[in-house]
Symmetry: C7
Subunit: 72 residues, 7 copies
């Protein structure tokens, strides 16, 4: 049987989209994650209804995350 | 005796509806889940009172979930 | 000495009412529960001040629950 | 040395008042409790600024509770 | 080296003030506490900006507490 | 390698400033702390946008804290 | 395989930006961190939409953090 975090394993090195509880979205190349869904992204940007900000490398703390999805 | 998460076990490969604390609903094909109710869905869409968004593959972090129900 | 979750044990197979932190109420036939008060209901409906929705089978994540009561 | 939950032990079989984070108060006969302060009450009623509701038997999830006090 | 909860140990049998996240203050004679800062008070009163209420004996769940201070 | 709580170890006996999630600031002489960042202060005062209050000895529950800084 | 907190390991001694759930941003030289993402910064400043404040040395409690990024 598969585990839900396997979906992240198959996205390593690829671009993902993270939807945060704050309403922001962060996209970037997935470099690493752990069981808390703490996520390290490279080439990341954040976006809310008002503006887009270039973040570069970023560590997102897992407890802020609603969902994670491979970028299409 | 059965355990409450067995309801998810019998929904694997089938479409479910997830109601989130944020008010959003996410539907998709259940691929995997764990004891935190972290959920991996395929062919997923999210919907709130304003709009519907195609998500495709998605990992929903369990602590955002109010309830999960098989799609009828 | 009894434990508080015994009240759920004696309600298995019977209709219960769950009051959620969101203000919603969910009623259904109790099929299973665990120590986090994750609850599996059959023949469930949700109700808030505006509308009533038929849910059928549903898994409610325990951390959303204020209280659980046998339906009278 | 005594422990704070001993105050509940000496209230078993007696009427207590529970103040919830939601602003509601629930009163009832204390039947059982555990270390999370999950509480089982019989002959319970809930009350907020607008209305009073007869609950009968109820299990209150501990994380909703601000304080518990013997009814005077 | 001392530990922060020692400040409570030296207040047993004395009046303390508890500031809650809800904005309320509760004062009373400290009878017992545990590592979660669950607190049992006797001769307690609660007070917010609008009113003061006599509580008598009370168990305050630790996760509601901002700070505890000996009454001066 | 150093650990982040070492910053508190080197502040024992000295005045620190604690910024709370509620918006309040508390200053006082650091007497003790633990791994949850529960903090015991002496000669403490609290301050928000409206008023300053003398607290004297106080135990601050760690989960309320945004950051701690040595007073400059 | 790398772990997400490795991104902090490679930033020790360098300036980072921390985005908090409160909306504030804190920047400073990373001195130490732990598995909860508690972070010790030197030469730190905090900034919100209204003002910038010099903090100097500061310990940020991890549960307030949305993300951490190396300053560019």
């Amino acid at each position: 049987m598969q585990r839900p975090l396997d979906v992240l394993g198959s996205s390593e090195g690829k671009r993902i989209i993270i939807k945060l509880k704050s309403g922001e979205e962060i996209t970037g190349i997935l470099k690493a994650f752990d069981s808390h869904i703490n996520v390290w992204l490279d080439e990341a940007d954040s976006k809310d209804s008002e503006k887009e900000v270039k973040l570069g490398r970023v560590l997102v703390r897992g407890d802020n995350i609603i969902f994670v999805s491979p970028a299409q």
